[in-house]
């Protein structure tokens, strides 16, 4: 049994076969599962059931999955995991920019979806990061109060921009952050399209905090979408 068992999950997909498979699977893993076929039905269920998490297919007829994200985000921070066909890269970024927490590309394996659901629910259970002034994962330790970063016990010297970038990652661990989100958070609202800045700084940051920058453990690339700060297994 997973630690987040009992959580209520709303699965939105217009494909009956997917709905069936996901429902059966999540149910077997101890979740309380509800399904919806259309965006309208999803919103109605959302208001009614107040699920702990939403698994949402983007490719719904009007209103679309994006409309669902918008609506849910207006009402709170319920985690949303987006299901999408791979070629809808732009849709995926749009969904994440709107506030979706993660995405799973179709076709997907049951374990992958389960793992993403557990991660998203784990954030929910954890107190907000701001309350804790020291962030730790694996070898990486960041003292946000004293602006001290150590990796494997040795101190790491970061430029102000690198430090801001790392802070942006720490604010949303395990979540996919799009290029646009990171740029706007670190460089400001005018920098949404300057992805190359970001790529350069992420590369520098990796050189300083990763043991092997070629195979990063913490700062993971999400191809075509952005980056994710991966938490080490506790």
């Amino acid at each position: 049994m997973s630690p987040s068992a009992g959580a209520r999950i709303l699965v939105v997909d217009d494909e009956p076969a997917i709905r069936r498979a996901v429902r059966t699977n999540l149910h077997a893993h101890g979740f309380d599962v509800e399904t919806a076929e259309t965006a309208a039905e999803a919103l109605e269920r959302f208001e009614h059931l107040r699920p702990d998490l939403i698994v949402l297919d983007l490719n719904l007829p009007e209103p679309t999955g994006l409309d669902v994200i918008r609506h849910v985000r207006e009402r709170g921070s319920t985690p949303i995991i987006v299901l999408s066909v791979r070629d809808a890269e732009r849709d995926k970024v749009a969904a994440l920019d709107l506030g979706a927490d993660d995405y799973v590309t179709k076709p997907f394996g049951a374990d992958e979806l389960l793992a993403r659901i557990r991660v998203a629910l784990r954030h929910l259970a954890r107190p907000p990061r701001g309350a804790d002034s020291v962030f730790r994962t694996g070898d990486l330790r960041v003292d946000l109060e004293r602006r001290e970063v150590t990796s494997g016990g040795r101190p790491v010297r970061l430029t102000p921009t690198e430090y801001e970038l790392l802070k942006a990652f720490i604010a949303h661990p395990d979540r996919v952050l799009t290029d646009r989100m990171l740029l706007q958070q670190v460089w400001g609202a005018d920098y949404g399209d300057e992805s190359h800045y970001l790529h350069v700084y992420v590369a520098r940051l990796r050189k300083k905090v990763e043991d092997d920058p070629q195979r990063p453990r913490y700062l993971i690339t999400e191809p075509g979408v952005g980056y994710r700060l991966l938490l080490a297994d506790e």
């Binding site: 076969a17 997917i18 069936r20 498979a21 996901v22 066909v85 791979r86 049951a110």
Partner: protein, 477 residues
């Protein structure tokens, strides 16, 4: 002084030479008749010389002026005619289609110059094309003989070509100056444009006539005009072709988009079910296991139908579609299809209308199975759950009629004309909500037509959609 009008008359009528001759003649006549000693060519009084020379000078100058004036007037007339012809050429060439324009220009030039035949020959990227005006025998004489081949290609004739019938052709250079004497009844003017020779203007004068120098200038100018217009028309055509290519690309990527969505959707269900079954941390009940397996089977079949459609479409596009026709019972075919699609239509009521006395129909079982499957699958996809799908067979005048009717939202009138088109980009919404419909209907249409039948859409009065196809009861020749 009486002689001056005669000199002027000669100048106006006959030009410069006769005017000078007339001047000299009047000088001699004056000397002979009026200057002492009379009736002989001699001048007694030297002062008479002055008036005589003055007379000669006046006569010559007046003659010259009159002749110049005359030449200028005829030149102006020629230029006016030229301007009108060129303007007509220009006007004819503004037509969007190059070919009728060139034919019209050929006819206009033939009429203007009163020629036997005119041909505009285009050396295209592909084969040379000719646009002609004139009667058959003249055109035959103008026909693409050795000379015009050499002229239009710019290459020396081969031995075989040289052995063929020959004739003289007059070549008017692109920058012809008037005054070259006319020699032959044939003329060829190169059409230049964009620095290359685009083709040539070939003309045949009527029997026992030749080209006048003034015609040369007109033809040169007309050829230049044609060159510009042809270059413009080609640019226009290239732009249109590029646009068409761009649209084809767009369509292809839209299709690829739709197809990859359609392929991945059943794959996603299969993978989700299969990977669930492999999970070791859960013990599945028999029912759950059966449900996953059924899902894998159904979705695999759906994938197979989709791949079948894609293959059919590519076979159709490649022109390799040949129905393997045999005589079958259409009712049994319908039962077969519905049996195979029972999971697809599980949420719907199926209402079957199959008369007992249907004749056997000549059809390719696999292909018509595909057509019916596509129609029924679309109906199930579009129409909401627990509505009715009607499948009807009946005899019609022109063959056996298959109808599939659903109670879904129907087809927008705007979408109707494109309904059966292949590679037509559905609005994104339509692509996803009715995955594969574009492909399915396009394939259905091609398959039915390959049987000599036809397929169409009807909007029932009480809503929904009805697709109908008719197969002939006799094997198409």
């Amino acid at each position: 002084m009486l002689y001056l009008p005669a000199v002027l008359l000669a100048a106006v009528r006959l030009g410069r030479g006769p005017a000078i001759a007339a001047s000299l003649l009047s000088f001699l006549a004056f000397d002979f008749f009026f200057v002492d000693p009379r009736f002989q060519f001699g001048v007694g009084n030297p002062s008479e010389w002055a008036s005589l020379i003055l007379l000669l000078f006046t006569a010559i100058v007046a003659g010259q002026v009159a002749a110049d004036q005359q030449a200028r007037a005829s030149d102006a007339r020629a230029r006016e005619r030229e301007a009108i012809v060129l303007y007509d050429v220009l006007r004819l060439m503004t037509e969007p289609d190059l070919e009728p324009s060139l034919r019209a220009v050929a006819e206009r030039l033939r009429a203007e110059l009163d020629l036997a035949a005119v041909a505009v020959e285009l050396r295209d990227e592909r084969t040379p094309r000719r646009f002609v005006a004139g009667d058959e025998p003249a055109l035959h004489r103008l026909g693409p003989g050795l000379a015009s081949r050499v002229l239009s290609s710019g290459r020396a004739p081969t031995a075989a070509q040289r052995a063929g019938p020959g004739r003289w052709v007059r070549v008017i250079p692109a920058n012809a100056a008037p005054g070259v004497p006319a020699q032959a009844g044939f003329a060829s003017v190169p059409i230049l444009g964009d620095g290359t020779q685009l083709g040539s203007l070939q003309l045949l004068a009527r029997a026992d006539r030749a080209f006048a120098p003034a015609d040369d200038r007109l033809l040169t100018a007309a050829a230049a005009q044609l060159g510009t217009a042809i270059v413009r028309a080609r640019l226009r055509r290239d732009a249109a072709e590029n646009e068409a290519l761009r649209r084809t690309d767009e369509l292809k990527s839209a299709l690829l988009d739709a197809v990859s969505h359609d392929l991945r959707t059943p794959l996603a269900s299969i993978l989700a079910a299969a990977s669930s079954l492999r999970q070791r941390d859960v013990t599945w009940s028999d029912d759950e296991r059966a449900e996953f397996l059924a899902s894998i089977e159904d979705e695999a079949r759906r994938l197979d139908r989709l791949v079948g459609n894609l293959l059919d479409l590519s076979r159709i596009e490649a022109g390799a579609l040949r129905p393997q026709v045999g005589w079958y019972d259409a009712g049994a075919l319908v039962d077969d299809v519905l049996g195979r699609l029972r999971h697809v239509t599980a949420q719907h009521r199926i209402s079957l209308h199959i008369p007992e006395d249907l004749p056997p129909v000549p059809l390719d079982y696999v292909e018509i199975d595909q057509v019916l499957s596509n129609l029924i699958e679309n109906a199930a996809k579009y129409a909401p759950a627990s509505t009715t799908i009607d499948v009807t067979l009946r005899r019609a005048d022109d063959g056996l009629r298959f109808e599939v009717r659903d109670e879904g939202p129907g087809i927008e009138p705007a979408e109707e004309p494109e309904l059966f088109a292949s590679f037509h980009p559905m609005p994104r919404k339509a692509i996803r909500s009715a995955s594969g419909i574009g492909l399915g209907l396009a394939v259905a249409k091609r398959l039915v037509e390959a049987h000599g039948g036809r397929i169409w859409f009807e909007r029932p009065n009480d809503g929904g959609a009805r697709f109908i196809f008719v197969l002939p009861l006799a094997i198409a020749a």
